[in-house]
């Protein structure tokens, strides 16, 4: 008896399941066959961000009848691992976010598709953001939202932010002279993070890290050496024993620091009394900056290529790009959106919008993260700790990079 009852129950559950499946497919059909597009992105930072993405998705589905966009959200820390397994297991998304430094690797391997001519109007986007999608001069993805670092300054200690390197040095010296317990600026360290910010400073002296087209390492030349020397010169007025303290800038122990927009929110939240603002990075000859953020690409093994490009156009058009970028925690890359909506960003965010206009993409080399972490970071540290001069350590690092890449000059 019991067996019969369980049997019936199992059958009922099974039927219900089948019915649910049937219902699902009919619902989405709307007369014609449904085309499903799978899009992978990082997990939402806030519930509000989820709503923004949801609205952009339904708008797209309304404009494209018979299309269903299936958004898969993955925690940022697991994203690359999951994507790696998906690619190995042939269960790739059609389109998805891709970490900037991975674009060049994936492009060279043929894992992602080149953007077809006419899909994207280059003039619509900031050059630096666009260039993070270029490998060997060809475009492999859409910039979605980007961000940069800029100069945070404590208004009580720095009434007018420095515009040039000389001003930066004298303001830093002045702060420390006035109160030896306070550092001028939190000088970045010789770690992967410092090495990520440093190209923005090199750019400020008119320099570049590498010339990929001609396979030349440039970060041992004058602008780079001057950029590193600037950090070395700032150290006497910015002792490490002050700036290595947790949240030195927010605690009022340093007059300035270089950081990204994520710190604006943190400081406002945790240090509501700190009166600070953010200015573009000081420069020597040319305004410049670094860039980081999210790009999206179309996978070779995915389906519905045309629709995938259309989806990316939808995410980056001037209507959607600002709200999407704000939801994702970055800044719009679409020029029209960025300029029109600049006022919707807070006072402390304006400098980042300025930085994005002059930002330079990092070199499109698959080994770049490794070069950044394993070669450039230690070289910065050697100079900052006084073990070598800026020129010596950069010459050494450039030679190591040449050997690693097999470049001759």
């Amino acid at each position: 008896m019991i067996r019969r009852v369980t049997g019936a129950a199992a059958a009922a559950v099974l039927l219900a399941g089948l019915a649910a499946c049937g219902g699902g497919s009919e619902e989405g059909g709307a007369g014609s066959a449904t085309t499903e597009l799978t899009y992978w992105m990082f997990q939402d930072r806030t519930p509000q961000a989820g709503e923004v993405v949801e609205k952009i998705r339904t708008d797209f589905e309304k404009a494209n009848p018979g299309v269903k966009v299936n958004i898969v959200k993955i925690p940022k820390d697991d994203y690359n691992t999951k994507l790696g397994s998906a690619l190995a297991g042939n269960t790739v998304p059609d389109v998805g976010i891709l970490d900037q430094p991975l674009v060049s690797r994936f492009a060279q391997e043929g894992t992602i598709k080149e953007v077809p001519a006419g899909t994207l109007n280059e003039a619509d986007f900031w050059e630096g953001a666009l260039n993070t999608n270029k490998v060997g001069g060809k475009l492999y993805g859409f910039p979605i939202d980007h961000t940069a670092v800029a100069l945070f300054y404590n208004k009580a200690l720095v009434p007018t932010p420095p515009k040039t390197w000389d001003e930066l040095k004298s303001i830093s010296a002045g702060i420390h002279q006035k109160d030896p317990k306070v550092a001028g600026i939190v000088v970045p360290k010789g770690d992967g993070y410092g090495a990520w910010m440093w190209p923005g400073v090199v750019g400020g002296a008119g320099g570049q890290m590498v010339d990929e087209a001609n396979k030349k390492i440039l970060f041992d030349q004058a602008p780079a050496v001057e950029a590193l020397q600037l950090w070395v010169d700032l150290l006497p007025s910015s002792p490490r024993e002050i700036t290595d303290s947790d949240q030195a800038f927010a605690n009022g122990l340093a007059g300035m620091m270089i950081s990204g927009p994520w710190d604006v929110a943190t400081i406002k939240d945790q240090f509501p009394d700190l009166d600070f603002n953010v200015a573009p990075l000081p420069y020597k000859t040319t305004p410049a900056g670094n860039i980081g953020g999210e790009n999206a690409v179309v996978f070779t093994k995915g389906k519905n290529e045309a629709l995938a490009w259309k989806w990316l156009q939808h995410l980056t058009n001037s209507t959607n790009n600002t709200t999407l970028a704000q939801a994702l925690g970055g800044f719009p890359v679409n020029k029209e959106a960025a300029e029109r909506d600049a006022a919707t960003f807070g006072e402390q965010q304006q400098a980042f919008l300025e930085q994005l206009k002059v930002a330079q993409a990092r070199p499109a080399l698959p080994q770049w993260i490794q070069i950044n972490d394993e070669i450039i970071a230690p070289a910065l540290e050697s100079a900052l700790s006084g073990k070598m001069t800026a020129q010596e350590s950069l010459t050494d690092a450039a030679n190591k990079t040449r050997a690693l890449l097999g470049w001759n000059s």
């Binding site: 397994s85 770690d191 990520w196 024993e241 303290s245």
Partner: protein, 322 residues
Amino acid sequence: MASPVVAQRPAETPARPGRRRRPGIGRRDHLIGWLLIAPALVYFIIFLLYPALAALYYSFTEWDLHSAPIWVGLQNYTDLFFDDVKYPHFWKSVQVTLQYTLVAVPLTLIAALGQALLINSIRRGSNLFRLLLFLPVVTAEAAVGAIWRWLYDPQYGLVNAVLGLVGIPRQNWLNTPELVIPALAFIAAWQCGISMIIYLAGLKSIPESIREAAVIDGAGPVQRFFKVVVPMLRPTTFYLVVTGIIAALQVFGLVYVIFSGGGNRSVTGGPEQSGLAYVLHIYLYAFRYNAMGAACAMSFILLVFIMIITFVQFKFMKQEAS
């Protein structure tokens, strides 16, 4: 279930000399035996044996986790050992890990034994102290990192404040290459709870009669400690040294949380790679630089090294109580 097996011991069936119970599959009770260990066996094969063998295979390949692995023979191994352009910090990570092990293991054992002796000597409230001293072990690694970054803070840190009382000048603990390993080892010693519990069990198993005999013979507390307690604890110490060294050579979580700091900082192993533990180095190559083949090779080098070290200890260290 086991009784029929016991009943058919060869000694009790002299009628068929030479015919011994056939080990292996085929008999009903053997089948049940296999069934009973099956979950553990399946777990072992799927989650330990297969990944280990796969890692061994990948260590002979160049593999970036998503395209097909390319067979390169021993190149990963030779490059790791000899090519300091490709792997500039491999030997540094070996050096850091050995230094850390040499400092952290003795420090942990001394702290554990000290705590165990103290707890063993008090009559009331030993449970409470045992709990308190064990807490660091069950604290989430991320919290440990946050707490100790605060304690070691060059401006506000409690460590500097305490040392300041005895006139030792302020140090920038986690940012001075020479101080990084002692600072890390100290945290490891603070987390010695498991060793402490094992030592405590060891202390409890020393017969009271031996202590009394020593007292009658006129041995003082110091003599009793070195002549009775330490020799009697030798098996415990041996076990803790062997497992402690294995754990120290694989240190990762601690270094990772101490140096990763705010979310946007990338982990390159502290100032001048002074905290670049071997396993952190493996992690960077596996998941940051997409060089899984080389990372697998590094894992195997570590495995072989641990096997050798452990073998040497079993061979040359006194294990018996005396």
